[in-house]
């Protein structure tokens, strides 16, 4: 199974529904370690995307660019900007193509991770969304069967969330919470585990 426009739209529908469902969960997680708006950011961004879902072109590069712009316009929150940066990176990579293979996912996620890292000037291991993406990129490396990629990605994002829960936050608004952040989920990592689960159709 390849990822084409139809698969993208189905994935975005699942993701939109997941973000509506997780609105409070993400706001609450961000409230504990930030400003409580992550649910708002995600629902707003996804609504902006789904408004234009029907008009998305077959060219996956153009389609993802439109998704990134929807996020860039709908809010200025860190997560939205980082996601937009990551999606835009993938968009550039796949420009002109109407389908990609599951086996390409790892490299694309890694490219997004690197560009987001440059934008946010953060280190890997800092308990941020970067660590979720890093885990996904590593876990899917060399995997090409679509179902295996989906399994590996979803598991990796969850594992990263679990692993980093016990760490101290070092970046963004969460940093100031210092030791109080130990034991709490990074909101951006929590969101990414939900995003990956929805896109991979591996929701619990």
């Amino acid at each position: 199974m390849t990822i084409d426009r139809a698969a993208l739209i189905t994935g975005l529908e699942r993701l939109g529904a997941a973000m509506e469902r997780d609105f409070d969960l993400l706001n609450t997680a961000d409230g504990a370690l930030g400003d409580g708006d992550l649910g708002v950011t995600m629902t707003r961004g996804m609504r902006a995307i789904s408004e234009q879902a029907e008009a998305l072109p077959d060219d996956l590069g153009q389609a993802l660019l439109a998704c990134a712009q929807a996020f860039t316009k709908s809010s200025g929150s860190s997560y939205g900007t980082l996601l937009a940066t990551g999606i835009m990176t993938i968009a550039k990579e796949v420009k002109g193509r109407s389908a990609i293979e599951a086996g390409e996912v790892s490299a694309l996620v890694a490219a997004a991770r690197d560009k987001m890292q440059a934008r946010g000037k953060a280190e890997l291991g800092g308990k941020t969304v970067l660590d979720s993406l890093d885990a996904v990129a590593r876990a899917t490396e060399g995997v090409s069967d679509p179902a295996d990629v989906a399994d590996a990605a979803a598991a990796a994002a969850n594992d990263a969330l679990e692993t980093f829960r016990g760490e101290r936050a070092t970046i963004g608004r969460a940093r100031i919470f210092g030791d109080k952040s130990v034991g709490l989920d990074d909101p951006g990592m929590l969101a990414m585990s939900r995003i990956v689960a929805a896109l991979a159709n591996r929701e619990a």
Binding site: G80, T81, I171, I176, K180
Partner: protein, 333 residues
């Protein structure tokens, strides 16, 4: 949530509509996002532009300081949320008159990422941008990590000083350099007594007991250095001055300005009570106070609390601080 508003989603748009309608001589909306405020009358052609941006809920910060001798344009986010990179790019375009644009704003992760991205966007328009970040809140990181500090009311001094330098006709490097000098000269600390409510969140940003205060709390409710019982004004002001002066000692003969700022609900009466201690402390260190500012210069809606900002001056900064400026919230000269 006890606030006077219509739909929470409309809060910022309606606020901006009212701001520009009440003061058309100072402000106009620029572009079609509806979230960029520019000067009603553009600055002189060839003047370096100065833009800022940040979340709503801090009036006069940010948009209020658009005006002659101050800022040229401002991108406005939702309450306590960064404006989008697109809006910032629009603000940069509004501010540009060919001499380049200084991005002068507070050190918050989202704002930094978005202003960087906005810089990428306006490269296509051939606009040269520089950046100066305010990172004046001494409670938000120790001196060794001073670059990680949040930007708070110190930006009022930076806006004023950079704005005057641009008005004088300095070039982009000159304006940027003096803005950086002003940013480096400022140290702030706040104390919070009660929270505020972000309209779309619908509940207070934090909880605090009826008899408690939090020293060093940030303007969005970021945790401070201690929480404890409310104490006498003299004691609160004394500790705040201790913390500022530990970070930025003043010596005999120094010239400084000081901003005693209400975070919103705290009335000017209380600011003046605090000012007595501030003045005594600075004067007993031998410093001369120049143009003290007492009032609501950088707020968090209805939050109760105060912040002090100490700005150490040299001749250049003092002259620029005293130069004329005019916006709906502040006039000098």
């Amino acid at each position: 949530m006890k606030k006077i508003l219509n739909a929470p989603e409309a809060y910022v748009d309606e606020m901006l509509a009212g701001l520009t309608a009440a003061h058309p001589e100072y402000y106009r909306l620029h572009g079609d996002s509806g979230k960029v405020v520019a000067r009603a009358t553009a600055g002189k052609a060839g003047k370096v532009g100065i833009v800022t941006g940040g979340g709503s809920g801090h009036l006069p910060v940010f948009a209020g300081y658009v005006g002659a001798g101050l800022l040229d344009a401002c991108a406005i986010g939702d309450v306590f949320a960064s404006p989008s990179a697109e809006q910032m790019a629009d603000a940069i375009r509004a501010a540009d008159s060919g001499a380049g644009v200084l991005r002068l704003y507070g050190n918050y992760g989202g704002d930094v990422m978005n202003f960087d991205m906005a810089g990428d966007l306006v490269e296509f328009d051939d606009i040269t941008c520089t950046t100066v970040l305010l990172a004046d809140d001494v409670a938000s990181a120790p001196p060794e990590e001073a670059e990680k500090r949040r930007g708070v009311a110190g930006m009022v001094y930076a806006f004023k000083i950079a704005g005057a330098a641009a008005e004088e006709g300095r070039d982009l490097d000159g304006v940027t350099a003096v803005a950086q000098k002003a940013a480096d000269a400022c140290r702030s600390i706040g104390v919070a007594l009660s929270p505020c409510t972000v309209p779309q969140a619908g509940k207070p940003t934090f909880e605090i007991a009826e008899d408690e205060i939090e020293m060093g709390m940030g303007i969005h409710g970021e945790p401070g250095v201690w929480r404890g019982k409310l104490r006498a004004a003299d004691e609160i002001a004394g500790e705040m001055m201790d913390r500022l002066l530990a970070d930025s000692p003043v010596a005999s003969g120094d010239r400084v300005s000081i901003l005693v700022n209400s975070l919103g609900a705290t009335p000017p009466e209380e600011l003046y009570i605090l000012y007595n201690v501030v003045k005594a402390r600075l004067e007993s260190a031998g410093a001369t106070i120049v143009m003290p500012l007492v009032g609501r210069y950088a707020t968090s809606m209805e939050m109760a609390g105060v912040s002090f900002t100490l700005c150490k001056l040299d001749d250049e900064l003092e002259a620029l601080l005293k130069a004329p400026c005019e916006c709906a919230f502040w006039r000098v000269g």
